[in-house]
């Protein structure tokens, strides 16, 4: 652990010993962090490292369990985000929080409308909005309805809205998650402008190259602890990755034998999922792990859902050479194809039911006798699942919602594996899961392929696709735009395909 040089006098913001516990789970422990005027300080870490919690505390959304925060050397406590805002701390959310049917100006002034007497002063707001947008280097017409704007433009409006408040500290929460590289560059430019005005910027991201580019200092969180804080010039992206993961990243992924050319088990030709995916054609071979990469909203999830009968779709799907058309999940499960949703809590598990009910829900037929369900067999199945998938649970009768994210994913995997499928489609297998469980899940996936099952992994985490897949298909705007294999499986090639960076830059 080393610490970057800071001269206390110039500190705009300082936090010491920040800790946060939920119940008995400690999500943040003893974080010391500071911010100078006119610098960009990046906070990096894996999902679940505590970045969001830290930001929520600094932005006043949650009080810390322990610890102290100072602005200009003066101790502060926030009663809520509005209170933090009065102190000049503003947060740019990751999600776009705008009313899509209102205009740019109406959104920027939402909740703090300018008025003349009882009337809303549209002209003043339009002028103010135009200036705010112009200050960020854009010429969006303040009268435009927000739903007509691109994602990048909407984000700019959101930033303009946040910056309208007098501010000294701006927090960006993963602002580039859904942007193309070109749009990212534009955003970084905006951030440099903000910095030039003497504002302190806290920048959360796990995209390391852009952190290297924009940040003056980098602080790394892992499992709720601060593991390092350096000047950016002292670190390369690879160093940052190692600090984030806490070990050599390569070891995270299981060794895989190069898949031999085996028979094709699934052929998809010209599949259309109306509104989401067009003309998708691909093949899946036995024992193969096929990745689907792309930006959020590229239509990967919808393509899979269309394939297994969760959405209406048109086109040809051949399973083991025979044309199939699944009308619902029941039909695709019967054919031995399972789909594990990215939305584990909303579509994967019954959070308010116990583990057994969840485990056997999709395969109850195997546990039903003439009339009733055999509870002993169910209980035995849970014991086996807990062993096979290393589900960490205190007691067997707890509710699924009480498991950690990683153990929920293991339970969902166990649930679907009870069906003994030949094709397993896993959507965002490690979203919101800590590093230890991630490693295990990669191992399970590799084992399933080893057993001769065919796997499709949909993921927005490029390193994970590169780490476990034999081939990766890349989707953009509902179409499969390319395939990367072998030496071409690297982030650059995928990003180029996923964003269409060469042509569609004009946005």
């Amino acid at each position: 652990m080393s610490s970057a040089e800071t001269s206390p006098a110039a500190l705009l913001f300082e936090a010491t010993g920040l800790s946060k516990t939920f119940g008995i789970v400690e999500v943040l422990k003893d974080i010391n962090i500071n911010l100078r005027a006119g610098e960009v300080h990046a906070i990096i870490g894996e999902n679940g490292a505590g970045k969001s919690t830290l930001m929520k505390i600094i932005a006043g959304n949650q009080p810390p369990t322990r610890g102290e925060m100072k602005i200009d050397g003066e101790t502060v406590t926030f009663s809520g985000p509005v209170d933090a805002e009065h102190r000049g701390i503003v947060l740019v959310h990751q999600e776009i929080l705008l009313a899509p049917d209102l205009t740019v100006a109406q959104n920027i002034y939402l909740g703090r409308e300018l008025h003349k007497g009882v009337f809303i002063d549209d002209r003043a707001m339009n002028e103010g909005a135009a200036k705010a947008v112009r200050d960020l280097g854009s010429d969006i017409d303040p009268n435009t309805i927000v739903s007509r704007l691109s994602i990048a433009q909407r984000q700019l409006v959101q930033i303009a809205r946040v910056l309208l408040v007098p501010h000294r500290i701006v927090i960006f929460d993963e602002p580039t998650a859904s942007l193309t590289p070109h749009e990212t560059d534009a955003l970084l430019k905006v951030i440099r402008q903000i910095r030039a005005k003497g504002v302190g910027v806290l920048y959360i991201s796990h995209r390391l190259p852009e952190v290297k580019e924009i940040a003056d200092r980098v602080t790394v969180l892992r499992d709720g602890r601060l593991v390092a804080s350096h000047n950016t010039s002292e670190l390369q992206p690879a160093d940052m990755a190692r600090l984030m993961v806490g070990r050599d990243v390569a070891k995270l992924y299981p060794d895989r034998h190069a898949a031999q050319a085996r028979e094709t088990v699934l052929e998809v030709e010209h599949l259309n999922v109306p509104g989401y995916a067009q003309d998708a054609s691909f093949q899946l071979r036995k024992g193969e792990i096929l990745g689907f990469a792309g930006l959020v909203g590229a239509g990967r999830t919808e393509l899979m859902e269309g394939m297994v009968g969760l959405r209406p779709s048109r086109g040809t799907v051949r399973h083991l050479g025979k044309p199939v058309n699944f009308r619902d999940v029941h039909a695709s499960l019967k054919a031995g194809i399972v789909y594990l949703s990215e939305d584990r809590k909303g579509k994967g598990l019954l959070l308010t039911k116990d583990l057994i009910v969840n485990l056997t829900l999709a395969s109850l037929g195997k546990f039903a006798g003439v009339l009733q369900i055999d509870r002993k067999r169910e209980s035995a199945a849970l014991d086996k699942a807990i062993r096979d998938f290393d589900i960490r649970t205190g007691a067997k009768d707890i509710l699924a919602g009480q498991l950690s994210g990683g153990n929920q994913q293991k339970l969902l995997l166990a649930k679907m594996m009870l069906l003994d499928p030949s094709i397993v489609i896993i959507d965002e297998p490690t979203r919101g899961i800590d590093i230890g469980n991630k490693e295990q899940i990669y191992k399970f996936i590799a084992n399933l392929a080893e057993e001769g099952r065919s796997i499709i992994v949909v993921s927005s985490e490029m390193p994970e696709l590169i780490g476990i897949c034999d081939r990766i298909l890349v989707m953009r705007s509902g179409r499969i735009v390319g395939e990367v294999t072998g030496d071409h499986m690297n982030e650059n090639e995928i990003v180029v395909l996923a964003t269409g960076v060469t042509k569609e830059e004009a946005a």
């Binding site: 999940v329 994967g348 829900l361 369900i373 509710l399 469980n437």
Partner: protein, 333 residues
């Protein structure tokens, strides 16, 4: 596996914590019995209690079906009107003289009632699932239809069983008893036992709970939501038909107002019994308990002089609100 980060288990809140919600209605029932004992010496007599429970049989049996519908995330407002409609058709059939032999006619009439009940339930189910209309609106519509048809069949008056032989044969089904226990009470417990077995022990019952708990999870698990929901409405229709079989011999007649507001009583019984109105948690014995509570409250009010019996509706309304508040406070823990 090296270096695995174990997350400390949160304070284990197991399924046992939910038991309080399951026990609450029985505690309420016990308290009511104590209250009744002090309110009037005649309350705690075998005769009175058997009478009260017998009278609760219609609502209790209908509410069993409602437990299924509500557990799967639906709602059926048409049950009161459906009861009147099915009973009217049954009596009209008995009066039609299609079958001369009274025993045979009665058997056929009862079978007909069961079939019509199931068909009415199926209609409700298909309208809400295939037709994709909110259950509240769909069954509000069929409530109007069943009620209107009943009024039309009876021309605004009453429909009465005319054949004395049939009536004589049929009466004991409501007023008779077996081994000292009135038949309606036996019917309550037998249907409840079947309902509990199906809901708690079978695959279908598990599916009902899953669909009500989270429709998406059920769908992604390969469960046919529409089929599960439609069948709950058919079960509701069958339960209404069983209630009809008990109701017709009681008075031997129906009118346009038969079963008015019974849908609200049935829903009250279900909710008081601890079943979650948003679906996902069904308590069969709680529902039976809820039906008893409603009838006993009415009985105590009749027997005591503190409160006018004209206020029964208001008290039952208050009960449902109190039950919801208790449920909420128990869930939060």
């Amino acid at each position: 596996m090296a270096n695995v980060v174990t997350e400390p288990a949160k304070a284990p809140k197991t399924s046992k914590d939910w038991d309080m919600a399951a026990i609450a209605p029985f505690i309420a029932l016990a308290l009511l019995l104590v209250l009744g004992y002090f309110a009037n010496p005649n309350f705690m007599t075998t005769a009175n209690l058997l009478n009260v429970v017998t009278r609760s049989s219609f609502i209790a049996v209908i509410a069993l079906g409602a437990t299924y519908v509500i557990t799967s995330g639906g709602l059926d407002l048409s049950v009161g009107a459906m009861l009147a409609f099915v009973a009217s058709l049954m009596i009209l059939f008995l009066n039609s003289g299609t079958i001369a032999d009274p025993a045979l006619a009665l058997t056929a009439g009862m079978a007909l009632a069961i079939a019509i009940g199931a068909a009415c339930g199926l209609a409700n189910g298909l309208i809400t699932t295939i037709g994709r209309i909110e259950p509240f609106i769909a069954t509000l519509g069929t409530m109007g239809i069943y009620r209107g048809l009943t009024t039309w069949l009876s021309q605004g008056g009453a429909i009465t069983v005319r054949d004395r032989d049939i009536l004589a044969l049929y009466r004991p089904v409501y007023s008779g008893s077996f081994a000292g226990v009135p038949i309606p009470i036996i019917v309550i417990f037998v249907t409840a036992a079947i309902a509990a077995f199906v809901l708690y022990r079978t695959r279908y019952g598990r599916h009902v709970t899953a669909v009500g708990s989270n429709e998406d999870v059920a769908r992604y698990s390969g469960i046919s939501i529409n089929r599960v929901r439609t069948v709950t409405y058919v079960i509701q229709g069958l339960c209404v038909a069983v209630a009809v079989l008990l109701y017709v011999p009681r008075l031997g007649s129906t009118s346009a107002t038969t079963g008015s507001f019974w849908e609200l009583q049935a829903i009250t019984a279900v909710v008081v019994g601890g079943t979650a109105l948003r679906g996902g948690v069904g308590r069969i014995w709680g529902t039976i308990c809820g039906a008893f509570i409603l009838e006993i409250v009415g009985n105590i009010m009749l027997l005591s002089n503190f409160v006018s019996e004209y206020l029964i509706g208001a008290i039952q309304g208050a009960i449902i609100i109190i039950a919801m508040l208790v449920q909420r406070s128990l869930m939060r823990r």
